[in-house]
Amino acid sequence: MARIGVFICHCGENISATVDCAKVSELAAGLPGVVYSTDYKYMCSDPGQSKIKEAIREHNLTGVVVSACSPRMHEPTFRKACAEAGLNPYLCEMANIREHCSWVHEKGDATTQKAFDLTRTLVEKVKNNHPLESIKVPVNKTAIVIGGGVAGIQASLDIANGGHQVILVEKQPSIGGHMSQLSETFPTLDCSQCILTPRMVEVAQHPNITLYTCSEIESMDGFIGNFNVKIRKKAKSVNEKLCTGCGLCTTKCPTKNIPSEFEQGLANRTAIYVPFPQAVPNKPVIDRANCRYFLTGKCKVCQKLCPTGAIDFEQEDEIIDVKAGAIVLATGFEIKNTDFFPEYGYGKYKDVINGLQFERLASASGPTQGAIRRPSDGKTPEKVVFIACAGSRDPAKGIPYCSKICCMYTAKHAMLYKHKVHEGTPYVFYMDIRAAGKNYDEFTRRAIEEDGAKYIRGRVSNIYEKDGKLIVRGADTLLGGKPVEIDADMVVLATAAVSCDGSESLAQKLHVSYDPYKFFAEAHPKLKPVETNTAGIYLAGACQAPKDIPESVAAASGAAAKVICLFSNDELTREPIVAKVNRMPPPIFSTCMGCEMCISICPYQAIDKENITNRNGEVIKTIAKINPGLCQGCGTCVAFCKSKSIDLEGYSNKQVYEEVLALLNN
């Protein structure tokens, strides 16, 4: 039999000014199951809490209802007080008679009656509460960071420096990402590689970091604190342990005409190659798709030359099983190629390049050693047109969003060009200049005012070749849409930043949600920007949305901080407000029919299948199973389940049902 205590708070005069608290207390005392009822000036004060504690002990209460302010305010206070008096904290409920009653209604019987109705409703609820224990989940203190660009590097270093193991998984043969391709960075114009490579080396040498390159995630299961991940380490055909990185193989490889990915196709590489001189690890890999031996069965030049016998043509992909407590996604972005733009020549004009190609042209370590020469004939261009928003902010191209980095890097490109080609003229077509950031606006102004970049506000309708020139036709909207035509030597498209190829399938493997553009989705756009909906999986950098370097690094450190917070405990403690699938004795076992529709409804991928087997291990029935580590307690599955086989702790069917009845029947 329930023994409920009801405590009506006056909240000074906040409640008692419009609600007759003594009356509510008196009415509550008359409710079946209520053995104690009182009112007091400040229930949340120490003496108020003591009243509750004393009543729990004295009247042997099995449930407590505090009618006071919003539970969003003081539920933890009163639950703690109950716990201190030996009552399970989840046997305490609050009726909100302040925000939802005394403050919003005039003084009178109706207001007092409503306060009582709300109290009665919670009394009926609490009669159906039962003790709950918070959920403890052990935490494996290894983090997996996916993606070795600047965000992945930063996150790995932060976590590793926090004293935890990190497994860094990179798809390419080297870490470094796009930042390693950049020439100089805005708004400081410091050399990108100069600031990045020390970090890359630090990763390679860090005792807490294990680096897997040429590797991808094969599959993932488990949940926060307890992920099981399979990593596919692709065959490099080079034994990393034996290889000293002397580079002899790469110089002698007979296949030398493969467009270099790192150089954005502006230079070639060999079939056995190191992507760039500062690569980490600085050991070559064989590109099997282009290797003469793999194509024809003959060659093996590298093997013959290798002084340590590191070349291994038989090497196979390796599947590595790792366990981790957290995952940081830092897979970055890609930019659209020039062939995406029919109006700009579908990529057929060699001198129409994208921003990343310009970075390589401007880079001291690039194919031209930093001299700006156009790809077609190597001439120094006299007029260069930069087109911002190539694809971005263009719903017709399916990319309605702003790529965010282009305004800044286009200004930087104009500047770098002007610095290198003093007599040249940079033109910039733009829609708006978005230079919000520390020293950003100053930077773009410098490009215009000091370096003489000619900014034209308008879009370029098309580009065509005429007499060795690229005719760029556009309009200047600031001059009422006056047509503009520029005979350029080179055109640089600030093509849209898009999500990486394969991010959708990775998101599905990791059960992370993604937006319509296949960027990974954060758990909350404001308050959980580095978390995903899957607890224990975090986001760093431009895999979430286009980001510049400082933002990527900040997000990476944010994600790392989340991981370190998680790892600071041996166990996770979670609110036990989770859904459960019922279980009952044979022959029914559970009323769950295994229709699995709850699996698709769960926003957290917290529901899986479970086989019920007999003693011989034969499957009798397959039902849904909710992982309390993943369940966040939204209850969507509970309301959906047709057979009422799922219930939610804290908001059970019985509880909410009794609440509705109690609210309406006095």
Partner: protein, 338 residues
């Protein structure tokens, strides 16, 4: 006490009118695709040209929801309010079929079995049945196979038989029937000689020979004849609920705030929940066992204990069965097999 009178076709509506002045009158009413016993205020509302109403007349004495008592929960416990039998209304049912009326005898046997049920008794006592003999029948009708007939007087207080002129032969069978006559004695004309009621009755051929039915049914208990039924019967309760005799019930509490009432509701041995134990064990595990129970109860257990059968051969269960579980066919098969 049976008295034969004549009720002309013009008098019949007047009689209904007369009765409705003092009592609620019910009769078969057509409602879309459905014919059911409804409250009427004039004879015009009565359906014509049909075999049998979709639902039997049992709800007049054994309604689908019967309040047994009500209660109020308060701080100190529960206060019980007994049902006031005085509130049970006096009613007249016009046009009840002889099979439905005959079913009342079986129901009475069930509810009067130790201990007798006062609510049922009162309802029965206060309901007057003016039967209407069947002048048409269909293939599902098999009253004659179980000793009934389209002109059976059992259970009726007055039985009307419509003649070819549209006038009625009225058999006044009980004192309740007499009371109806006294309401409008002028409408009932005296008759002379034999009116040859049988001439106006439907022809319901015998479907099987019911001699020794009980033993034959008992003999079938452990045979595999029920296997096919087990597969086909889908386990709804339609047969039981349309049956004029099925009287299994469920007791439930309906609550609303601090108020509650205990109600008796129709239930069915064909439903799997009927015998399901809390443990999950079900002594009547399969639908075959449940169908067997239905037959056994009607044709073996009831005759044994109550000396009445649980079936009058109205054929409703078979007409209404979504999967054509035909009771007459089953009986016939059991009789032939055993």
């Amino acid at each position: 006490m049976s008295k034969i009178k004549k009720l002309s076709k013009e008098s019949f509506p007047l009689l209904i009118k007369k009765i409705s002045e003092t009592q609620h009158v019910y009769g078969p009413v057509s409602q879309g695709k459905r014919i059911s016993y409804q409250r009427i205020s004039s004879a015009d509302e009565l359906a014509s040209d049909f075999i049998i109403p979709d639902m039997s007349a049992k709800s007049f004495v054994f309604p689908k929801i019967e309040k047994l008592f009500s209660y109020t929960k308060n701080k100190d416990g529960v206060e019980v309010q007994d049902i006031n039998l005085d509130n049970i209304p006096h009613r007249v049912v016009v046009g009840i079929r002889p099979c439905d009326a005959a079913g009342m005898e079986s129901l009475k046997a069930i509810f009067s079995w130790d201990p007798s049920d006062p609510i049922f008794e009162t309802r029965l006592k206060r309901t007057t049945f003016i039967g209407l003999a069947c002048n048409q029948a269909d293939d599902y009708c098999f009253c004659t196979s179980l000793g009934g007939s389209p002109g059976d007087t059992k259970g009726s207080d007055i039985l009307l038989t419509k003649t070819d002129t549209g006038d009625y032969i009225a058999e006044i069978l009980t004192s309740k029937g007499e009371k109806i006559v006294t309401l409008a004695p002028d409408l009932f004309q005296d008759v002379e000689g034999d009116l040859q009621k049988e001439k106006f009755l439907a022809n319901v051929p015998k479907r099987f020979d019911n001699s020794d039915l009980q033993n034959k049914i008992n003999a079938a208990f452990n045979t595999d004849v029920f296997d096919e039924y087990a597969m086909r019967c889908m386990g709804c309760s339609a047969c039981a609920f349309v049956c004029p005799i099925c009287a299994c019930f469920d007791i439930q509490d309906e609550t609303k705030g601090s108020k509650g009432q205990r109600v008796r509701l129709w239930d069915s041995c064909g439903a799997k929940l009927f015998t399901l134990h809390t443990s999950g064990h079900n002594p009547r595990e399969t639908q075959g066992a449940r169908w067997r129970q239905r037959l056994m109860h009607k044709f073996s257990y009831m005759p044994e204990r109550l000396e009445v059968r649980g079936c009058v051969g109205c054929g409703r269960c078979s007409r209404r069965c979504p999967v054509d579980m035909n009771i007459a066919e089953s009986l016939n098969q059991l009789i032939i097999d055993n």
